[in-house]
Protein backbone atom coordinates (compact mmCIF):
# COMPACT_ATOMS: atom_id res chain seq x y z
CA UNK A 1 0.00 0.00 0.00
CA UNK A 2 2.57 2.56 -1.05
CA UNK A 3 -0.20 4.91 -2.10
CA UNK A 4 -1.64 5.31 1.40
CA UNK A 5 0.91 7.71 2.91
CA UNK A 6 0.80 9.97 -0.16
CA UNK A 7 -2.99 10.21 -0.10
CA UNK A 8 -3.12 10.69 3.64
CA UNK A 9 -0.44 13.36 3.52
CA UNK A 10 -2.34 15.30 0.89
CA UNK A 11 -4.64 17.38 3.12
CA UNK A 12 -1.80 18.73 5.26
CA UNK A 13 0.22 19.59 2.13
CA UNK A 14 -2.83 21.32 0.64
CA UNK A 15 -3.29 23.29 3.88
CA UNK A 16 0.42 24.26 3.94
CA UNK A 17 0.36 25.46 0.31
CA UNK A 18 -2.84 27.37 0.91
CA UNK A 19 -1.39 28.96 4.03
CA UNK A 20 1.66 30.11 2.06
CA UNK A 21 -0.53 31.50 -0.73
CA UNK A 22 -2.77 33.23 1.80
CA UNK A 23 0.22 34.83 3.53
CA UNK A 24 1.46 36.12 0.15
CA UNK A 25 -2.02 37.43 -0.70
CA UNK A 26 -2.18 39.19 2.66
CA UNK A 27 1.27 40.73 2.21
CA UNK A 28 0.08 42.34 -1.05
CA UNK A 29 -2.55 44.37 0.80
CA UNK A 30 -1.16 47.57 2.31
CA UNK A 31 -4.27 48.10 4.50
CA UNK A 32 -3.95 44.60 5.97
CA UNK A 33 -0.22 45.09 6.62
CA UNK A 34 -0.91 48.45 8.32
CA UNK A 35 -3.62 46.77 10.40
CA UNK A 36 -1.29 43.92 11.36
CA UNK A 37 1.32 46.48 12.44
CA UNK A 38 -1.26 48.25 14.65
CA UNK A 39 -2.30 44.92 16.21
CA UNK A 40 1.35 43.96 16.90
CA UNK A 41 1.99 47.45 18.32
CA UNK A 42 -1.02 47.02 20.62
CA UNK A 43 0.33 43.67 21.86
CA UNK A 44 3.76 45.24 22.50
CA UNK A 45 2.15 48.14 24.41
CA UNK A 46 0.05 45.75 26.52
CA UNK A 47 3.03 43.51 27.33
CA UNK A 48 5.51 46.35 27.93
CA UNK A 49 3.08 48.70 29.75
CA UNK A 50 5.16 48.68 33.00
CA UNK A 51 8.24 49.82 31.06
CA UNK A 52 6.43 52.30 28.79
CA UNK A 53 4.14 54.01 31.31
CA UNK A 54 5.70 57.21 32.70
CA UNK A 55 3.76 56.95 36.03
CA UNK A 56 2.13 54.36 38.26
CA UNK A 57 -1.37 54.06 36.69
CA UNK A 58 -3.01 54.08 40.15
CA UNK A 59 -0.87 56.84 41.73
CA UNK A 60 -3.25 59.53 42.97
CA UNK A 61 -1.99 63.14 42.88
CA UNK A 62 -4.37 65.68 44.42
CA UNK A 63 -2.18 68.55 43.18
CA UNK A 64 -2.86 67.57 39.58
CA UNK A 65 -6.62 66.98 39.38
CA UNK A 66 -8.03 66.97 35.81
CA UNK A 67 -5.00 68.73 34.31
CA UNK A 68 -5.11 69.12 30.49
CA UNK A 69 -2.38 67.49 28.37
CA UNK A 70 1.06 68.98 29.07
CA UNK A 71 4.73 67.94 28.89
CA UNK A 72 4.47 66.43 32.38
CA UNK A 73 1.28 64.50 31.53
CA UNK A 74 1.11 64.01 27.76
CA UNK A 75 -2.59 62.97 27.78
CA UNK A 76 -3.56 64.93 30.90
CA UNK A 77 -4.74 63.62 34.28
CA UNK A 78 -8.04 62.23 35.56
CA UNK A 79 -10.41 63.15 38.39
CA UNK A 80 -7.97 62.07 41.11
CA UNK A 81 -4.80 63.23 39.36
CA UNK A 82 -3.77 59.88 37.83
CA UNK A 83 -1.78 60.07 34.58
CA UNK A 84 -4.15 59.29 31.66
CA UNK A 85 -1.32 58.07 29.37
CA UNK A 86 -0.13 55.53 31.95
CA UNK A 87 -3.70 54.33 32.51
CA UNK A 88 -4.31 54.08 28.75
CA UNK A 89 -1.11 51.98 28.34
CA UNK A 90 -2.00 49.71 31.27
CA UNK A 91 -5.60 49.56 30.07
CA UNK A 92 -4.32 47.82 26.93
CA UNK A 93 -3.63 44.79 29.16
CA UNK A 94 -7.29 44.38 30.16
CA UNK A 95 -8.28 44.76 26.50
CA UNK A 96 -5.65 42.27 25.30
CA UNK A 97 -6.77 39.73 27.93
CA UNK A 98 -10.40 40.39 27.03
CA UNK A 99 -9.58 39.88 23.37
CA UNK A 100 -7.57 36.68 23.80
CA UNK A 101 -9.16 34.72 26.67
CA UNK A 102 -12.86 34.78 25.64
CA UNK A 103 -11.94 33.89 22.06
CA UNK A 104 -9.76 31.04 23.32
CA UNK A 105 -12.69 29.81 25.44
CA UNK A 106 -15.00 30.04 22.41
CA UNK A 107 -12.56 28.24 20.06
CA UNK A 108 -11.64 25.49 22.53
CA UNK A 109 -15.31 24.69 23.19
CA UNK A 110 -16.67 25.27 19.69
CA UNK A 111 -14.21 23.17 17.66
CA UNK A 112 -15.10 19.84 19.31
CA UNK A 113 -18.81 20.75 19.45
CA UNK A 114 -18.94 21.87 15.80
CA UNK A 115 -16.88 18.88 14.68
CA UNK A 116 -19.08 16.46 16.63
CA UNK A 117 -22.24 18.08 15.31
CA UNK A 118 -21.08 18.17 11.69
CA UNK A 119 -19.49 14.71 11.60
CA UNK A 120 -22.13 12.79 13.57
CA UNK A 121 -25.33 14.31 12.13
CA UNK A 122 -28.66 12.87 13.32
CA UNK A 123 -30.29 13.68 16.65
CA UNK A 124 -27.04 14.82 18.28
CA UNK A 125 -26.48 17.37 15.51
CA UNK A 126 -30.13 18.48 15.86
CA UNK A 127 -29.83 18.92 19.62
CA UNK A 128 -26.53 20.85 19.47
CA UNK A 129 -27.82 23.12 16.72
CA UNK A 130 -31.14 23.88 18.42
CA UNK A 131 -29.34 24.91 21.62
CA UNK A 132 -26.91 26.87 19.46
CA UNK A 133 -29.76 28.62 17.62
CA UNK A 134 -31.29 29.52 20.98
CA UNK A 135 -28.01 31.11 22.08
CA UNK A 136 -27.66 32.92 18.76
CA UNK A 137 -31.11 34.41 19.12
CA UNK A 138 -30.05 36.36 22.20
CA UNK A 139 -27.87 39.29 21.07
CA UNK A 140 -24.16 38.97 21.92
CA UNK A 141 -23.93 41.89 24.36
CA UNK A 142 -27.19 40.98 26.11
CA UNK A 143 -25.88 37.44 26.78
CA UNK A 144 -22.62 38.91 28.07
CA UNK A 145 -24.40 41.44 30.32
CA UNK A 146 -26.90 38.89 31.65
CA UNK A 147 -24.17 36.31 32.36
CA UNK A 148 -21.87 38.90 33.94
CA UNK A 149 -24.79 40.09 36.07
CA UNK A 150 -25.57 36.61 37.37
CA UNK A 151 -21.91 35.57 37.74
CA UNK A 152 -21.01 38.82 39.51
CA UNK A 153 -18.86 41.79 38.41
CA UNK A 154 -15.13 41.37 37.67
CA UNK A 155 -12.78 41.04 34.70
CA UNK A 156 -12.57 37.22 35.04
CA UNK A 157 -16.34 36.72 35.00
CA UNK A 158 -16.70 39.27 32.19
CA UNK A 159 -14.24 37.25 30.08
CA UNK A 160 -16.13 34.00 30.77
CA UNK A 161 -19.40 35.76 29.86
CA UNK A 162 -17.96 37.14 26.60
CA UNK A 163 -16.46 33.73 25.72
CA UNK A 164 -19.79 31.98 26.20
CA UNK A 165 -21.61 34.72 24.28
CA UNK A 166 -19.18 34.28 21.34
CA UNK A 167 -19.46 30.47 21.38
CA UNK A 168 -22.54 29.89 19.15
CA UNK A 169 -21.13 31.81 16.17
CA UNK A 170 -18.03 29.58 16.22
CA UNK A 171 -20.04 26.36 16.63
CA UNK A 172 -22.18 27.24 13.62
CA UNK A 173 -19.11 28.19 11.57
CA UNK A 174 -17.17 25.00 12.39
CA UNK A 175 -20.20 22.80 11.73
CA UNK A 176 -20.96 24.56 8.43
CA UNK A 177 -17.36 24.12 7.27
CA UNK A 178 -17.34 20.47 8.35
CA UNK A 179 -20.50 19.77 6.33
CA UNK A 180 -18.80 21.17 3.21
CA UNK A 181 -15.49 19.38 3.77
CA UNK A 182 -17.22 16.07 4.52
CA UNK A 183 -18.19 15.76 0.86
CA UNK A 184 -14.69 16.55 -0.51
CA UNK A 185 -13.02 13.79 -2.51
CA UNK A 186 -9.95 13.48 -0.29
CA UNK A 187 -12.22 12.83 2.71
CA UNK A 188 -14.05 10.15 0.78
CA UNK A 189 -10.69 8.72 -0.31
CA UNK A 190 -9.49 8.59 3.29
CA UNK A 191 -12.70 6.85 4.28
CA UNK A 192 -12.38 4.39 1.37
CA UNK A 193 -8.86 3.58 2.53
CA UNK A 194 -10.29 2.48 5.85
CA UNK A 195 -9.48 5.45 8.12
CA UNK A 196 -11.57 5.43 11.28
CA UNK A 197 -14.18 8.17 11.82
CA UNK A 198 -12.18 9.94 14.54
CA UNK A 199 -9.06 9.86 12.32
CA UNK A 200 -10.97 11.30 9.35
CA UNK A 201 -12.45 13.99 11.61
CA UNK A 202 -9.20 14.97 13.32
CA UNK A 203 -6.63 14.42 10.57
CA UNK A 204 -8.55 15.32 7.40
CA UNK A 205 -11.49 17.53 8.32
CA UNK A 206 -10.19 19.55 11.30
CA UNK A 207 -7.15 21.18 9.58
CA UNK A 208 -9.38 22.49 6.81
CA UNK A 209 -11.84 24.14 9.19
CA UNK A 210 -9.04 26.43 10.37
CA UNK A 211 -8.91 29.09 7.59
CA UNK A 212 -12.49 30.38 8.11
CA UNK A 213 -11.88 30.09 11.85
CA UNK A 214 -8.92 32.51 11.60
CA UNK A 215 -11.15 35.14 9.99
CA UNK A 216 -13.81 34.68 12.67
CA UNK A 217 -11.15 34.88 15.41
CA UNK A 218 -9.96 38.25 14.11
CA UNK A 219 -13.52 39.66 14.00
CA UNK A 220 -14.45 38.17 17.38
CA UNK A 221 -11.33 39.54 19.13
CA UNK A 222 -12.53 42.98 17.96
CA UNK A 223 -16.06 42.31 19.24
CA UNK A 224 -14.69 40.95 22.54
CA UNK A 225 -12.57 44.09 23.10
CA UNK A 226 -15.66 46.25 22.59
CA UNK A 227 -17.70 43.92 24.82
CA UNK A 228 -15.11 44.13 27.63
CA UNK A 229 -15.03 47.92 27.31
CA UNK A 230 -18.85 47.94 27.38
CA UNK A 231 -19.06 45.71 30.47
CA UNK A 232 -16.34 47.73 32.24
CA UNK A 233 -18.17 50.93 31.24
CA UNK A 234 -21.28 49.53 32.94
CA UNK A 235 -19.23 48.52 35.99
CA UNK A 236 -19.52 44.79 35.31
CA UNK A 237 -15.97 44.25 34.02
CA UNK A 238 -12.61 45.47 35.34
CA UNK A 239 -13.12 46.86 38.84
CA UNK A 240 -11.56 50.16 40.00
CA UNK A 241 -8.88 51.25 40.56
CA UNK A 242 -7.40 48.78 38.00
CA UNK A 243 -7.27 50.56 34.63
CA UNK A 244 -9.45 49.53 31.71
CA UNK A 245 -10.48 51.66 28.75
CA UNK A 246 -14.18 51.01 29.44
CA UNK A 247 -14.04 51.98 33.12
CA UNK A 248 -11.96 55.08 32.21
CA UNK A 249 -14.78 56.14 29.89
CA UNK A 250 -17.31 55.56 32.65
CA UNK A 251 -15.45 57.97 34.95
CA UNK A 252 -14.84 60.43 32.09
CA UNK A 253 -18.57 60.78 31.42
CA UNK A 254 -19.00 62.72 34.66
CA UNK A 255 -16.32 65.29 33.77
CA UNK A 256 -17.11 65.79 30.11
CA UNK A 257 -17.22 69.58 30.15
CA UNK A 258 -14.20 70.04 32.50
CA UNK A 259 -11.88 67.26 31.25
CA UNK A 260 -12.82 66.01 27.75
CA UNK A 261 -9.36 64.42 27.29
CA UNK A 262 -10.34 61.81 29.87
CA UNK A 263 -12.94 60.50 27.40
CA UNK A 264 -11.09 61.10 24.16
CA UNK A 265 -8.00 58.87 24.42
CA UNK A 266 -9.36 55.60 25.83
CA UNK A 267 -12.11 55.68 23.19
CA UNK A 268 -9.61 56.39 20.41
CA UNK A 269 -7.55 53.41 21.55
CA UNK A 270 -10.59 51.07 21.42
CA UNK A 271 -11.57 52.49 18.03
CA UNK A 272 -8.02 52.09 16.65
CA UNK A 273 -7.47 48.49 17.71
CA UNK A 274 -10.98 47.35 16.75
CA UNK A 275 -10.67 49.03 13.34
CA UNK A 276 -7.27 47.36 12.80
CA UNK A 277 -8.69 43.94 13.71
CA UNK A 278 -11.66 44.42 11.38
CA UNK A 279 -9.38 45.47 8.49
CA UNK A 280 -7.18 42.45 9.23
CA UNK A 281 -10.28 40.22 9.27
CA UNK A 282 -11.34 41.58 5.86
CA UNK A 283 -7.82 41.07 4.49
CA UNK A 284 -7.64 37.51 5.86
CA UNK A 285 -11.02 36.63 4.38
CA UNK A 286 -10.00 37.94 0.97
CA UNK A 287 -6.67 36.14 1.16
CA UNK A 288 -8.13 32.82 2.30
CA UNK A 289 -11.27 32.82 0.18
CA UNK A 290 -10.85 34.18 -3.35
CA UNK A 291 -14.64 34.08 -3.90
CA UNK A 292 -15.07 36.63 -1.16
CA UNK A 293 -13.01 39.53 -2.54
CA UNK A 294 -14.19 42.82 -0.99
Amino acid sequence: MSVTPAVLAAPSRVVATRRYKAARQLARRPAAIAALTVVLGFIVVAVAAPQLAPYDPNAIDYRALRKPPSTAHLLGTDEVGRDVLSRVLWGARASLLAGVIPVTIAVVLSVPLGLLSGVSGGWLDGLIMRINDAMLSIPFLIVAIALAAFLGPGLGNAMIAIGIAALPTFVRLVRGTVLVIKTEEYVEAARALGCSRPRVALRHILPNTLPPLFVQVSITVAAAIIAEASLSFLGLGQQPPAPSWGSMLNAAQRYLSQAPWMALYPGLMIFGIVMALNVLGDGLRDALDPRHQS
Binding site: S137, A222, S230, L256, V274
Partner: protein
Protein backbone atom coordinates in the same frame (compact mmCIF):
# COMPACT_ATOMS: atom_id res chain seq x y z
CA UNK B 1 -43.36 26.16 -2.43
CA UNK B 2 -46.47 27.77 -0.96
CA UNK B 3 -45.95 30.60 1.49
CA UNK B 4 -47.94 28.92 4.26
CA UNK B 5 -45.83 25.78 3.98
CA UNK B 6 -42.65 27.83 4.15
CA UNK B 7 -43.89 29.75 7.22
CA UNK B 8 -45.07 26.50 8.86
CA UNK B 9 -41.61 24.97 8.34
CA UNK B 10 -39.91 28.03 9.82
CA UNK B 11 -42.26 28.02 12.83
CA UNK B 12 -41.52 24.33 13.36
CA UNK B 13 -37.85 25.29 13.83
CA UNK B 14 -38.73 28.39 15.84
CA UNK B 15 -40.65 26.58 18.60
CA UNK B 16 -37.74 24.40 19.82
CA UNK B 17 -35.42 27.41 19.51
CA UNK B 18 -37.66 29.47 21.79
CA UNK B 19 -37.96 26.50 24.17
CA UNK B 20 -34.17 26.34 24.52
CA UNK B 21 -34.03 30.14 24.88
CA UNK B 22 -36.40 29.86 27.84
CA UNK B 23 -34.30 27.03 29.33
CA UNK B 24 -31.12 29.11 28.98
CA UNK B 25 -32.71 32.18 30.54
CA UNK B 26 -34.18 30.16 33.39
CA UNK B 27 -30.77 28.55 33.93
CA UNK B 28 -29.24 31.99 34.58
CA UNK B 29 -30.91 31.83 37.99
CA UNK B 30 -28.87 28.71 38.79
CA UNK B 31 -25.67 30.73 38.32
CA UNK B 32 -26.49 32.92 41.31
CA UNK B 33 -23.92 32.23 44.01
CA UNK B 34 -25.28 30.64 47.18
CA UNK B 35 -28.97 30.42 48.05
CA UNK B 36 -31.03 31.76 45.12
CA UNK B 37 -33.81 32.95 47.45
CA UNK B 38 -31.34 35.08 49.44
CA UNK B 39 -29.83 36.45 46.21
CA UNK B 40 -33.27 37.19 44.78
CA UNK B 41 -34.26 38.99 47.96
CA UNK B 42 -31.44 41.44 47.24
CA UNK B 43 -30.70 43.75 50.14
CA UNK B 44 -33.71 42.53 52.11
CA UNK B 45 -32.15 40.23 54.67
CA UNK B 46 -35.46 39.73 56.39
CA UNK B 47 -35.96 35.94 56.78
CA UNK B 48 -39.70 36.39 56.20
CA UNK B 49 -39.04 38.09 52.83
CA UNK B 50 -36.60 35.31 51.86
CA UNK B 51 -39.18 32.68 52.85
CA UNK B 52 -41.87 34.51 50.85
CA UNK B 53 -39.63 34.51 47.75
CA UNK B 54 -38.81 30.84 48.28
CA UNK B 55 -42.53 30.01 48.32
CA UNK B 56 -43.46 32.41 45.48
CA UNK B 57 -40.78 31.09 43.11
CA UNK B 58 -41.12 27.48 44.36
CA UNK B 59 -37.38 27.39 45.12
CA UNK B 60 -37.91 24.48 47.51
CA UNK B 61 -39.11 22.31 44.59
CA UNK B 62 -36.92 20.36 42.11
CA UNK B 63 -35.38 22.50 39.33
CA UNK B 64 -37.47 20.87 36.59
CA UNK B 65 -40.68 21.64 38.47
CA UNK B 66 -39.45 25.21 39.08
CA UNK B 67 -38.84 25.61 35.35
CA UNK B 68 -42.28 24.22 34.44
CA UNK B 69 -44.02 26.57 36.85
CA UNK B 70 -41.92 29.54 35.66
CA UNK B 71 -42.65 28.78 31.99
CA UNK B 72 -46.35 28.39 32.74
CA UNK B 73 -46.42 31.88 34.28
CA UNK B 74 -44.31 33.43 31.51
CA UNK B 75 -46.57 31.97 28.78
CA UNK B 76 -49.54 33.87 30.20
CA UNK B 77 -47.45 37.05 30.43
CA UNK B 78 -46.75 36.88 34.17
CA UNK B 79 -43.07 37.80 34.59
CA UNK B 80 -43.41 38.42 38.32
CA UNK B 81 -42.85 41.80 39.89
CA UNK B 82 -39.84 44.06 40.20
CA UNK B 83 -38.13 43.51 43.55
CA UNK B 84 -37.17 47.17 43.63
CA UNK B 85 -40.33 49.00 42.57
CA UNK B 86 -42.92 46.26 43.23
CA UNK B 87 -44.41 47.09 39.82
CA UNK B 88 -45.37 44.04 37.71
CA UNK B 89 -42.54 43.39 35.22
CA UNK B 90 -45.13 43.15 32.42
CA UNK B 91 -46.11 46.79 33.03
CA UNK B 92 -42.47 47.87 33.07
CA UNK B 93 -41.88 46.11 29.74
CA UNK B 94 -45.00 47.66 28.20
CA UNK B 95 -43.94 51.16 29.22
CA UNK B 96 -40.31 50.84 28.01
CA UNK B 97 -40.82 49.00 24.73
CA UNK B 98 -42.33 51.94 22.74
CA UNK B 99 -39.30 54.09 23.63
CA UNK B 100 -36.87 51.47 22.33
CA UNK B 101 -39.01 50.86 19.23
CA UNK B 102 -38.95 54.59 18.42
CA UNK B 103 -35.17 54.70 18.91
CA UNK B 104 -34.70 51.61 16.71
CA UNK B 105 -37.01 53.03 14.04
CA UNK B 106 -35.21 56.41 13.89
CA UNK B 107 -31.80 54.66 13.87
CA UNK B 108 -32.91 52.42 11.01
CA UNK B 109 -34.13 55.43 9.04
CA UNK B 110 -30.71 57.06 9.39
CA UNK B 111 -28.93 53.79 8.59
CA UNK B 112 -30.92 53.17 5.40
CA UNK B 113 -30.64 56.74 4.15
CA UNK B 114 -26.84 56.64 4.55
CA UNK B 115 -26.11 52.96 3.88
CA UNK B 116 -27.99 52.31 0.63
CA UNK B 117 -26.86 55.42 -1.36
CA UNK B 118 -23.28 54.93 -0.08
CA UNK B 119 -23.37 51.26 -1.12
CA UNK B 120 -24.66 52.12 -4.63
CA UNK B 121 -22.07 54.88 -5.05
CA UNK B 122 -19.29 52.62 -3.86
CA UNK B 123 -20.27 49.76 -6.19
CA UNK B 124 -20.72 51.93 -9.29
CA UNK B 125 -17.36 53.61 -8.62
CA UNK B 126 -15.49 50.47 -7.57
CA UNK B 127 -11.77 50.98 -7.12
CA UNK B 128 -11.97 54.79 -7.06
CA UNK B 129 -11.32 57.21 -4.19
CA UNK B 130 -15.12 57.42 -3.56
CA UNK B 131 -15.20 53.65 -3.03
CA UNK B 132 -12.22 53.79 -0.66
CA UNK B 133 -13.72 56.65 1.39
CA UNK B 134 -17.14 54.92 1.60
CA UNK B 135 -15.47 51.68 2.69
CA UNK B 136 -13.40 53.50 5.29
CA UNK B 137 -16.49 55.14 6.79
CA UNK B 138 -18.43 51.86 6.74
CA UNK B 139 -15.63 50.07 8.57
CA UNK B 140 -15.34 52.99 11.01
CA UNK B 141 -19.08 52.74 11.73
CA UNK B 142 -18.61 49.04 12.50
CA UNK B 143 -15.52 49.57 14.65
CA UNK B 144 -16.37 52.60 16.75
CA UNK B 145 -17.62 51.79 20.26
CA UNK B 146 -21.13 53.28 20.22
CA UNK B 147 -21.08 54.47 23.79
CA UNK B 148 -17.86 56.40 23.12
CA UNK B 149 -19.26 57.92 19.94
CA UNK B 150 -22.29 58.94 22.02
CA UNK B 151 -20.05 60.61 24.61
CA UNK B 152 -18.13 62.44 21.85
CA UNK B 153 -21.36 63.65 20.21
CA UNK B 154 -22.65 64.88 23.58
CA UNK B 155 -19.35 66.71 24.03
CA UNK B 156 -19.65 68.39 20.63
CA UNK B 157 -23.37 69.07 20.19
CA UNK B 158 -24.49 69.51 23.80
CA UNK B 159 -21.48 70.69 25.80
CA UNK B 160 -19.55 72.74 23.20
CA UNK B 161 -22.21 73.94 20.73
CA UNK B 162 -25.26 73.69 22.98
CA UNK B 163 -27.50 72.75 20.04
CA UNK B 164 -29.03 69.58 21.45
CA UNK B 165 -29.81 68.24 24.92
CA UNK B 166 -27.08 66.01 26.41
CA UNK B 167 -29.50 63.34 27.64
CA UNK B 168 -33.06 62.55 28.67
CA UNK B 169 -36.20 61.66 26.78
CA UNK B 170 -39.52 63.38 26.12
CA UNK B 171 -42.39 61.23 24.75
CA UNK B 172 -43.67 62.37 21.32
CA UNK B 173 -47.25 62.90 22.62
CA UNK B 174 -45.94 65.40 25.18
CA UNK B 175 -43.77 67.51 22.91
CA UNK B 176 -42.86 66.25 19.44
CA UNK B 177 -40.11 68.80 18.81
CA UNK B 178 -38.33 68.04 22.07
CA UNK B 179 -38.87 64.34 21.45
CA UNK B 180 -37.02 64.61 18.14
CA UNK B 181 -34.18 66.64 19.64
CA UNK B 182 -33.67 64.08 22.42
CA UNK B 183 -33.81 61.08 20.09
CA UNK B 184 -31.59 62.54 17.33
CA UNK B 185 -28.13 61.98 18.85
CA UNK B 186 -28.75 58.40 20.08
CA UNK B 187 -30.33 57.53 16.71
CA UNK B 188 -27.29 58.94 14.94
CA UNK B 189 -24.98 56.85 17.14
CA UNK B 190 -26.86 53.61 16.48
CA UNK B 191 -27.70 54.47 12.89
CA UNK B 192 -24.11 55.03 11.78
CA UNK B 193 -23.12 51.56 13.01
CA UNK B 194 -25.95 49.86 11.10
CA UNK B 195 -25.29 52.10 8.07
CA UNK B 196 -21.83 50.52 7.84
CA UNK B 197 -23.32 47.02 7.71
CA UNK B 198 -25.98 48.03 5.17
CA UNK B 199 -23.46 49.87 3.00
CA UNK B 200 -21.15 46.85 2.81
CA UNK B 201 -24.01 44.49 1.94
CA UNK B 202 -25.54 46.87 -0.62
CA UNK B 203 -22.12 47.28 -2.22
CA UNK B 204 -21.42 43.57 -2.54
CA UNK B 205 -24.98 42.80 -3.73
CA UNK B 206 -24.76 45.63 -6.29
CA UNK B 207 -21.39 44.37 -7.53
CA UNK B 208 -22.97 40.96 -8.12
CA UNK B 209 -26.06 42.28 -9.91
CA UNK B 210 -24.04 44.78 -11.97
CA UNK B 211 -22.03 41.86 -13.32
CA UNK B 212 -25.17 39.82 -14.16
CA UNK B 213 -26.17 38.95 -17.70
CA UNK B 214 -29.46 40.87 -17.62
CA UNK B 215 -27.60 44.07 -16.71
CA UNK B 216 -25.23 43.51 -19.64
CA UNK B 217 -28.28 42.99 -21.88
CA UNK B 218 -29.86 46.21 -20.61
CA UNK B 219 -26.64 48.09 -21.35
CA UNK B 220 -26.44 46.46 -24.81
CA UNK B 221 -29.97 47.75 -25.46
CA UNK B 222 -28.66 51.28 -24.69
CA UNK B 223 -30.73 51.66 -21.53
CA UNK B 224 -29.44 54.83 -19.80
CA UNK B 225 -26.84 53.98 -17.10
CA UNK B 226 -28.94 55.64 -14.36
CA UNK B 227 -31.84 53.30 -15.16
CA UNK B 228 -29.52 50.29 -15.40
CA UNK B 229 -28.20 51.00 -11.91
CA UNK B 230 -31.42 52.04 -10.18
CA UNK B 231 -33.97 49.82 -11.93
CA UNK B 232 -32.18 46.71 -13.14
CA UNK B 233 -29.36 46.29 -10.64
CA UNK B 234 -30.65 47.92 -7.45
CA UNK B 235 -34.05 46.22 -7.40
CA UNK B 236 -32.43 42.82 -7.26
CA UNK B 237 -29.59 43.92 -5.01
CA UNK B 238 -32.07 45.22 -2.44
CA UNK B 239 -33.58 41.78 -1.77
CA UNK B 240 -30.84 40.65 0.65
CA UNK B 241 -30.59 44.19 2.03
CA UNK B 242 -34.30 44.18 3.02
CA UNK B 243 -33.86 41.01 5.03
CA UNK B 244 -30.65 42.34 6.56
CA UNK B 245 -32.58 45.48 7.53
CA UNK B 246 -35.18 43.38 9.37
CA UNK B 247 -32.47 41.45 11.23
CA UNK B 248 -30.61 44.65 12.11
CA UNK B 249 -33.87 46.16 13.37
CA UNK B 250 -34.18 43.21 15.75
CA UNK B 251 -30.62 43.78 16.88
CA UNK B 252 -31.35 47.48 17.45
CA UNK B 253 -34.35 46.63 19.63
CA UNK B 254 -32.10 44.81 22.04
CA UNK B 255 -28.67 46.16 21.24
CA UNK B 256 -29.19 49.75 22.32
CA UNK B 257 -28.22 48.95 25.92
CA UNK B 258 -25.19 51.22 26.24
CA UNK B 259 -26.52 53.99 24.01
CA UNK B 260 -29.65 54.19 26.17
CA UNK B 261 -27.41 54.25 29.23
CA UNK B 262 -25.22 57.10 27.87
CA UNK B 263 -28.19 59.23 26.79
CA UNK B 264 -30.38 58.27 29.79
CA UNK B 265 -33.16 57.04 27.47
CA UNK B 266 -35.67 55.05 29.53
CA UNK B 267 -35.97 52.08 27.16
CA UNK B 268 -35.36 48.33 27.25
CA UNK B 269 -31.60 48.64 27.53
CA UNK B 270 -31.76 50.95 30.51
CA UNK B 271 -34.34 48.66 32.13
CA UNK B 272 -31.88 45.76 31.72
CA UNK B 273 -28.92 47.67 33.16
CA UNK B 274 -30.98 49.06 36.06
CA UNK B 275 -32.24 45.52 36.66
CA UNK B 276 -28.65 44.25 36.77
CA UNK B 277 -27.56 46.89 39.29
CA UNK B 278 -30.63 46.57 41.50
CA UNK B 279 -30.15 42.78 41.41
CA UNK B 280 -33.70 42.70 40.08
CA UNK B 281 -33.34 39.30 38.42
CA UNK B 282 -36.98 38.91 37.38
CA UNK B 283 -36.59 42.11 35.31
CA UNK B 284 -33.29 40.91 33.78
CA UNK B 285 -34.78 37.53 32.82
CA UNK B 286 -37.90 39.16 31.35
CA UNK B 287 -35.95 41.71 29.27
CA UNK B 288 -33.62 39.03 27.88
CA UNK B 289 -36.53 36.69 27.11
CA UNK B 290 -38.63 39.36 25.40
CA UNK B 291 -35.58 40.68 23.46
CA UNK B 292 -34.72 37.19 22.24
CA UNK B 293 -38.34 36.46 21.27
CA UNK B 294 -38.61 39.73 19.34
CA UNK B 295 -35.30 38.99 17.64
CA UNK B 296 -36.42 35.48 16.64
CA UNK B 297 -39.76 36.80 15.33
CA UNK B 298 -38.06 39.57 13.34
CA UNK B 299 -35.75 36.96 11.86
CA UNK B 300 -38.81 34.97 10.83
CA UNK B 301 -40.24 38.19 9.31
CA UNK B 302 -36.96 38.70 7.44
CA UNK B 303 -37.09 35.17 6.05
CA UNK B 304 -40.70 35.60 4.92
CA UNK B 305 -39.81 38.94 3.26
CA UNK B 306 -36.90 37.25 1.51
CA UNK B 307 -39.21 34.47 0.36
CA UNK B 308 -41.77 36.94 -0.97
CA UNK B 309 -39.19 39.17 -2.66
CA UNK B 310 -37.28 36.35 -4.30
CA UNK B 311 -39.28 34.71 -7.13
CA UNK B 312 -36.66 31.98 -7.59
CA UNK B 313 -37.25 30.75 -4.02
CA UNK B 314 -41.03 31.07 -4.37
CA UNK B 315 -41.17 29.05 -7.57
CA UNK B 316 -38.87 26.28 -6.39
CA UNK B 317 -40.50 23.16 -5.05
Amino acid sequence: MALWLYVARRIAILVPTLFFVSVLIFSLQQLLPGDAAVALAGEENDPAAVAAIRTRYHLDRPVVVQYGLWLGRVLVGDFGESLRSRIPVRELLASKLPVTVELAFCSMLIALSIGIPAGILSATRKGTAVDAVANFFALSGLSVPHFWLGIMLILLFAVRLGWLPASGYVPPWEDLRRNLTTILLPSLVLGTGVAGVIMRHTRSAMLQTLAADYVRTARAKSVPERLVVLKHALRNALIPVITLGAIEFGRLLSGAVLTEQVFAIPGFGKLLVDGVFNRDYAVVQAVVLVSATLYVLLNLGADVLYFLANPRLRDST
